[in-house]
Symmetry: C2
Subunit: 201 residues, 2 copies
DNA sequence: GTCTATAAGGAGATAGAC
DNA sequence: GTCTATCTCCTTATAGAC
């Protein structure tokens, strides 16, 4: 392979690893598989990274900054808060359904990080990123519907992430939109109940 | 090691594997580690099991039948429904906190099963067991407080499992009782709202 | 039946030719 | 800088002695 700046090579390896992890899981992302996917020689790996765990750490950092719920669609206007949340959650689950292996991989990454001493901070950073993304969405949902939250947005966001984690696992295990639907309805109603009573004009 | 019936040997290997997985994760449960933990020769493994995946399948079946929420403490009497649920959830999180590595391992097992073609059914069985355990608890909570659920108990149970999965991940990532507490309060309030209005005597 | 010994292959990491 | 070739270790699985 032609000359590449080390930074560029690192980025290419992270992307290759991400493709493997998203489709086959963390365990399948061996240095051999990653370099093959990137079209590089095996030795190039250790020219760019000191170890496999160093790549995983950088990969989680990349995911944290560029992925998470970034693909979230814009909220639909003209609905009440509960419907806005419900449709938002269903849209999120559509993303899960569109690439289940990838969503499974996000859980695996968190858990790999939690098992690896030096990566515990990476797991927390991953969730800090989820919380920030969720906070933006819950603020937007309140603005869009002219409602206010009865609790700090950060607390609402944490609840949203807890619910989406649970919903994601439920869907990944059963792959059954119908069966997950009542849980989505519950989540939307319960979240909407955290808003202050609507203003009388 | 002395003679053992094959069934007994299989059970001993499953127990050994469970100890390793609970403390060090699924990836650490190699046939070598398992047989060493069980005090057997390596070759004994393939005398009892055809492959490592066969053991994992039996291990999940064991977990499904004997563990899950079985360690749940009895509910406290004399409280209203929301408090009963809140204290039940906090008790569950105490179990998570008492052995975080084990709880992490339960997630890993599900995800390993979801990644392995022949084990997809095992993951669903694991959740069916969770749902059954949760259903028993939600029925007990309603009975204890003299309330009735506005939805089928199976649906309430599924919501409970979704919430506990999310709560467990939240706690495992942050290990912060204080930070998880508002999410527990939310879950208890939202679940209690699924009961019919209390009877006027 | 149970063990030691070993096969056969995959892993991370590196030396050294170019 | 980049690659081939290799080192060392660890994996699952099995053959064959006892």
């Amino acid at each position: 392979m032609a000359r590449m700046a080390v930074a560029e090579r690192r980025a290419a390896l992270v992307q290759a690893a991400l493709r493997i992890i998203a489709s086959q899981g963390v365990a399948a992302a061996t240095t051999r598989a990653i370099t093959a996917e990137a079209g590089m020689a095996l030795a190039s790996f250790h020219y760019a990274f000191r170890s496999r765990d160093e790549l995983i750490a950088e990969l989680i950092a990349y995911v944290v900054e560029n992925e998470s719920l970034a693909a979230q669609r814009p909220l639909e206007p003209g609905l009440d808060l509960e419907s806005t949340i419900r449709i938002g959650l269903l849209g999120y689950l559509d993303l899960v359904a569109a690439d289940p292996a990838r969503e499974l991989a996000m859980f695996e990454l968190t858990q790999y990080a939690l098992r690896t001493d030096e990566l515990g901070e990476a797991a927390r950073a991953q969730y800090a990123s989820y919380h920030a993304a969720a906070e933006a969405v819950v603020k937007a949902a309140a603005d869009l519907t002219g409602r206010t939250w009865s609790r700090p947005a950060g607390e609402i966001a944490r609840i949203v992430v807890t619910l989406t984690d649970g919903l994601t696992l439920d869907w990944l295990v059963h792959r059954d939109d119908e069966a997950t639907r009542p849980v989505v309805d519950f989540a939307a109603r319960a979240l909407a109940a955290l808003a202050d009573p609507p203003q009388e004009p």
